[in-house]
Symmetry: C2
Subunit: 543 residues, 2 copies
């Protein structure tokens, strides 16, 4: 964790609001904080407040620019902030209640950290003078926040809270972006404060180092077998286009990281295969590579360790050329393309859609239905896990869309991501592809979809199993798998009924057991504004 | 956090299993670990595993004595372990998946820490040699675990894992009990291990210091106005009886802490009023006190700070006599009673039940129904919050029962506590009194109740509001409460339908809107083994 105040600038270059920094002399710390956030373009707060946050909540009515979005569980708030950031490039705030609230948010903050999403956590705490009494909710917020590995500060005075907030936003918008956590004691909120301040200037991304560009261009021009591996901010249209130009010019294989935060894809964009989740398949993709150029991604390693299997997935002796994460990856790829005299035009995915299938619903049939019906400009949130294996291929020629992945491996991010993406892009349809076991971690997100009238179509792939763990149980080499072990991976007894669960939170829901039903229900859901849910009953993938 | 290996003993004094400590030379680390836990009487593991825990899961079939209880969310697992510990006095294990799994468990671990419940967390991690690669699920487990403020160790070798497990159990069973967290790398699980070891001996509670007993007896014999405040382990029958003897002999007021972990109460036991949650009322209870003797509790402080209100709830100048937490509180109270020549017999609550009410359901009507119908030996889990205000008085003369509270203020513990209590006491009825907003944090507990056929009757008090926050919003002195603030505390739009939610997880459910319906449904639910749920529609308490 760092606590870096940007020394250069505290004025608002756009002059948006509060340029004087002192427009609210009569307000309290909470109001100064919220006004500062809005001035820095942080205008959504995914909230799950408690008593220590009541002055913050009360101040929401004083600042018209801030939208409070109530979440029934903190993991929904943090995942929604991640989805909002991925689609808008801007941080949302979260409002969390002391250490337990931050703890509940942590799993999806882990995913957000891996997505390099900017987020500003506001964590309420006891009044500064009350902490000494070890009241029941006294908790070690600092230790929990350390696991975010981002920026952290405890605001200690109403005189400083506005500047702390401005610094938090700037810190979140570093290159790459990160999580900023500001601890907000109750008395810092309720005491009189001098008012809001303008935004601090975030640390900009570095320009490409011409020497590094030249060095990597020389590698790619050589005869050795090369791979270009992209991720992060290089996964949008300009990045994949530049990367495809590089790959074409150099005759290098192009891959994307396994689980990108946001991948712009579909007809008219260069196709980029992602590295496989299964290490054995990723090793095949990387087979023979002598050089791997890594741009805004991590060098390929196995998701987990397995007895007798490699952790590092590149071939022995392969050179890794890692472009520093602080460098603007798109600018780097474009500079590299120029250095390689790459063509301006590259091959792109042609428009194509699968035929609508028929018969009992299967995972590949469901994929074909989704490929056939995916709307223009859709935002696809993919936490379908094993049930989603065939969907990327089935949608490769669909109209251009964004694809959001589970970046950090902590399941339960899909529905919250969909909330945040829909808040960020109210004019775009959101399709949440969701495994059943994973859905149960943060199902409360459905309620927020209704409350905020979000245009999210959720497909729950109900295979009644932690199917990925059935696969992993084999892969880790566990001998003699018995009934107790298998019962830990089985979600029958009782079967989850997602139609009832959705209806319990006000979301209209249907169940599909055939491809025809799924196509009909998906078409209807996509044509209807607001949230809806389809339980797609599918068999577990066999391994 | 401490890492204390008990230097004295590594043998199993009861000779229960594995007295040699080396009975499983051919097994792996996971098996040695589980066998050691079972040998130390830790025979339930509330589990939410992932890939890094697959060898642990596979080994469950090798050790018949260990019961794995699958939970769909880690907060259910940690809350269930808390409930199990409160009712059995023994630790359960939890099985959690790296930092995000521990993060999701943290809110209820916070409550367990405040309850002084012994718990052994087993947190799976990447293989020791894999951590260096920063794979997606690499996470700062150590920092998150620090917030448990208990015992922590990372097992680094299959040669040590059994001893680590024995030490973890002994550490959890310290006086007072605490949370022990053992991080378990995947390779430590899967590699060959020398086998299980016998239990380590926990640090016993200290005997009462005669000088302190005499000193406090002298205070209580004096003319000054005194209060005896008990909590923790002093809240069971022997503790409240000894405390009542002390209070009677000394003419002192007797109170219990506001939210005890487990309070044994009802007809035939001495009644003990709890200190009020609202600071103003607690101050009235403590009015005029010149001495407060505190036994296994914290000195009275306000739950939160409020502008212009006191944090410390005892009158100015009041002396606090804190008995060290390491002392056996029941033995201390009994020694104090002897020192005061206290009578053997004290006044006890008489058997009495309210009349069954009629008409539209209200919070006081619901309380009367519960008081009228509470079964013998019931375990009541109370997270009814504002809706539960009248229930303690209405059940004061009910047949003897146990009352489990939200100890740490982190909402979402009720249903998980009920799971754990029911697993610990399969022959006793469990009644979970649950506020609707709080229920939504860990509703997945309902699924585990069905899977494990637990005899839990859940009453959801549906007032469609974070009612306690509406109250707190007034109390913190927030001026000009506007519609945005109020919407953050309101759970209408959409209304949660707990009948559908319960049915979605396989729990039979009904809805009551009149006192007659509630009485009929509660009687039926209590008469039927296994889980059931009643949505009790009540108006929010007016403040």
């Amino acid at each position: 964790m760092t606590d870096e105040t940007n020394p250069s600038g505290q004025t608002n270059p756009s002059g948006q609001t509060n340029p004087s920094g002192q427009t609210n002399p009569s307000g309290n710390g909470a109001r100064a904080l919220i006004e500062t956030l809005v001035a820095a373009d942080v205008d959504v707060c995914f909230s799950n407040p408690g008593t220590s946050e009541m002055h913050f909540v009360a101040a929401l009515d004083d600042v018209p620019g801030m939208r409070g979005v109530l979440c029934l569980f903190e993991g929904v708030a943090s995942g929604a902030a991640d989805g909002f950031a991925r689609m808008s490039g801007r941080p949302a705030a979260t409002l969390l209640h002391l250490g337990p609230g931050l703890g509940n948010a942590m799993a999806n903050l882990h995913n957000a950290r891996r997505a390099h999403s900017p987020i500003v956590n506001i964590v309420g705490d006891h009044a500064t003078y009350h902490k000494q009494y070890d009241a029941p909710l006294e908790s070690d917020i600092d230790s929990i926040a350390a696991a975010c590995e981002g920026w952290f500060r405890r605001s200690m005075s109403p005189d400083e809270v506005a500047q702390d907030a401005a610094d938090a936003v700037a810190a979140a918008l570093a290159s790459p972006a990160r999580i900023a956590t500001l601890v907000l004691p109750a008395d810092v909120c309720w005491l009189d404060a001098p008012g809001a301040v303008g935004p601090s200037t975030p640390e900009p991304a570095s320009a490409p180092d011409p020497a590094l560009v030249a060095e990597i261009a020389a590698v790619l021009r050589g005869d050795a077998s090369s791979v270009v591996l992209i991720g992060g901010r290089a996964m949008l249209a300009d990045g994949v286009t530049a990367a495809a130009r590089v790959g074409t010019a150099a005759g290098a294989r192009l891959f994307a990281e396994t689980f990108p935060a946001r991948h712009e894809r579909g007809a008219g964009l260069p196709p980029v295969d992602r590295l496989a989740y299964l290490a054995e398949f990723a090793q095949m993709q990387l087979d023979g590579a002598e050089h791997v150029v890594v741009v805004d991604a991590a060098a390929p390693v196995s998701f987990f360790a397995y007895p007798g299997k490699a952790s590092v997935l590149t071939p022995e002796g392969c050179a890794i050329h890692q472009v520093p994460r602080s460098v603007d990856p798109v600018a780097f790829l474009e500079a590299l393309a120029e250095a390689l005299d790459a063509p301006a035009e590259v091959a792109v995915a042609e428009a194509s859609r699968p035929e609508l299938p028929s018969g009992p619903l299967t995972t590949d049939g469901a994929a074909a239905v989704i490929g056939a019906l995916l709307p223009e400009r859709a935002i696809v949130v993919d936490e379908a896990n094993t049930s989603g294996l065939f969907i990327p291929a089935a949608t490769a020629g669909a109209p251009r869309h964004d694809w959001l992945c589970l970046t950090g491996g902590s399941i339960g991010v899909g529905l919250p991501l969909a909330v945040g993406a829909a808040v960020a892009c109210p004019d775009r349809p959101v399709l949440a592809l969701q495994a059943d076991g994973s859905a149960m971690y943060t199902l409360q997100a459905l309620w927020t979809m209704v409350r905020e009238s979000l245009d999210v179509t959720t497909v729950i792939f109900a295979n009644h199993s932690y199917a990925v763990l059935n696969m992993e149980l084999q892969r880790v080499g566990a001998a003699q798998v018995g009934p107790k072990a298998l019962s830990m991976l089985d979600l029958h007894g009782p079967e989850l009924d997602f139609v009832s669960l959705a209806q319990g939170m006000g979301v209209g829901a249907t169940r599909a057991t055939t491809a025809e039903e799924f196509a009909e229900q998906l078409a209807a859901a996509l044509a209807t504004p607001g949230p809806s849910l389809i339980e797609a009953v599918v068999p577990p993938l066999g391994f």
